[in-house]
Amino acid sequence: MSPILRDGEAHRHVGADCSAPLIRLEHVVRAYGRGAAVVTALAGVDLTITQGEFVAVVGPSGSGKSTFLNIIGCLDTPSSGRYRFKGIDTGTLDVTGRAMMRRSSIGFVFQRFHLIKRASALDNVELPLLYQSVPRGERRKSATAVLAAVGLSQRQHHTPDQLSGGQQQRVAIARALITRPDLLIADEPTGALDSVTGAEIMQLLKQLHRERGTTVVIVTHDPSVASQASRTICFTDGHIKPEHFDDAGSRT
């Protein structure tokens, strides 16, 4: 494993340089199955996302959005092509190497929250630190702080079934942020929430992006969510449609 993975802290704030590419996909293909039954989820994707971007990924079901997220989140690997994350060719990483990359640099937020049901909010949030062997006292401190940052100080000891959907998603966001990741991946984070709560969650994500400079990649079906991103990537049939940028976009 590379030394960079051992020490996520030292490299985490490289993000100050907004032009450094965090994510770089070169001709990435991801195909499932074999022979006649082969399904191509990603058919040669080229893409660069720089530090600090807030990217919305849109497209119909089965267009390759989820596969794309899995690959940039180091949960899956390309069938061919190359994916560089923080300059590291993830094709050189084994299962453990990818897990190390995830734990140090990537936070996940899922549509269905995916919290551990019997654990309290605090226990859920500190779980990533447990696997990094952070002592219990320190874990508690960090988790308390992050829960406060997502506005859940009063709900620390509640279990997921004692929390509303929006509150559960806040816990999930706190869990994703506790390791101070370079990249926050959110797979339809408002998909299971009503529009008011969804808007609140979007506000929270935008606020965290603004305050912490975390790069955010968010998959959504909701045009109003996508419109809040600084950049929108649209998938169809495993390809990225030519990009368009909103007024705030820095590229032409």
């Binding site: 995830r102 269905r112 062997s133 869990r175 994703a176």
Partner: protein, 407 residues
């Protein structure tokens, strides 16, 4: 990377077992039964072995018993007509005086004995004072025979503790007269309590009188039925057995190639035979224990597979948010080991309990060997690791993307 501290692994493992309490108990039951069986068997085995050892050491490992007739133990040898020994044979064996500590001629039979209060059937033995030396038997009260009593064959006797109880209710017996098959006989001594020996009937149910008086008044013949031969410490009993056999063949004119019409029983050999029997038993019981532990291990594997299947989505989440595969492996293994060790500990308690209960029936001491307790814990741990490994590896190999969506 630092490993996750043990308590961070064990606490959730314990919590997980608690949540599925019934399932956990059932899974651990197999191990518990296996371990209980082993611990009980070994503990009972230890106890009975200690008792046999104690009995043998009481009788003495250096003891040889010479009897007329063939050794019929184990069904071998035929009951053949064998002429009895005489006192001349005793004198001849006593010729090995530098190797032998005591040679006691005996003749005995079950005879009714009667006191003023009661009557009872006891083993009545005619012997001389060497008998007490050969059997390492001391008097609780009174005295042994005088030389004159032996020479003249006086009607005096020394009684065992059981006879003392039955005829005198344990009260004053010295100087009293009992009738041994109608022969009046003065009690001059009481033997020390020997306790149940297991090798023979009740050792304490005995009356000893001078050989000459027994021969004349009870037996009606001058036969010597057997000799107790105590070999001196440091002298090989097998060697002495051969020499006695050789001597007796000569004296009894047994031709070469002809079967002996007497036999010599070696206490050491008897002890080794018993030890051998207990080794065979141990091996057999170990095999049974191994099978029950195997079944217990499979039970644990089964329950852990079910547990991993139940928690597939949760394991997927853990992997996605930064658990390494080997950490998941450790978590599942910890749960399996905890389950197995809990079963093992319950088994140890149950096993010792069984042995303690058996102690009453078998009249053996309760000896809990710390080694078997440690072994049981070690074996349980090993079972947890071996049978937990497959489910643990299965959990560690889960694909987080697939696992997380299986809810």
């Amino acid at each position: 990377m630092m490993p996750v501290p043990a308590h961070d692994i064990l606490r959730p493992a314990a919590a997980s077992l608690q949540r599925n309490a019934l399932r956990s108990v059932l899974a651990a039951l197999g191990i518990a039964v296996g371990v209980a069986a082993v611990v009980a068997m070994v503990t009972i085995g230890r106890g009975s072995r200690a008792q046999v050892d104690a009995q043998i050491s009481q009788l003495g490992m250096q003891l040889l018993t010479l009897r007329v007739g063939q050794d019929t133990r184990g069904g071998k040898g035929a009951q053949i007509e064998a002429k009895p020994m005489t006192y001349a044979d005793v004198e001849a064996v006593r010729g090995f005086q530098s190797e032998l500590q005591a040679v006691a001629p005996i003749a005995s039979a079950s005879v009714r004995v009667v006191s003023r209060q009661a009557n009872w059937v006891a083993a009545v033995t005619g012997a001389d004072n060497e008998f007490f030396a050969a059997r390492r038997w001391e008097l609780a009260s009174g005295r042994i025979f005088s030389g004159q009593e032996i020479q003249a064959g006086r009607s005096v006797c020394i009684i065992g503790a059981t006879v003392h109880d039955r005829l005198f209710g344990g009260g004053a017996a010295l100087g009293e007269t009992i009738r041994v098959k109608s022969v009046p006989c003065e009690v001059i001594g009481v033997l020390r309590l020997r306790g149940q020996s297991g090798l023979s009937q009740d050792d304490d149910n005995t009356v000893v009188m001078p050989l000459a008086s027994y021969q004349r008044r009870i037996l009606g013949a001058r036969d010597v039925q057997a000799m107790l031969i105590l070999v001196r410490e440091g002298i090989d009993t097998s060697h002495m057995k051969s020499r006695v056999e050789e001597l007796m063949r000569e004296r009894r004119r047994v031709a070469d190639g002809q079967d002996d019409n007497f036999h010599v029983l070696e206490m050491r050999q008897l002890a080794e035979t018993m030890a051998g029997t207990s080794r065979t038993m141990t091996a057999l019981l170990s095999a049974i224990a191994a099978i029950s532990l195997l079944v217990g291990g499979i039970g644990i594997m089964n329950i852990m597979l079910a547990s991993v299947a139940d928690r597939t989505a949760e394991i997927g989440i853990r992997l996605a948010i930064g658990a390494l595969p080997r950490q998941i492996l450790a978590e599942v293994l910890a749960e399996a080991v905890l389950l197995a060790v809990a079963g093992g500990l319950a088994g140890i308690l149950a096993g010792v309990g069984l042995a303690a209960a058996a102690r009453g029936y078998l009249q053996i001491p309760l000896i809990v060997d710390p080694a078997i307790v440690l072994l049981a814990v070690a074996v349980s741990t090993a079972i947890g690791i071996v049978f937990g490994y497959v489910p643990a590896a299965k959990a560690a190999k889960l694909d987080p993307v697939e696992a997380i969506n299986r809810e």
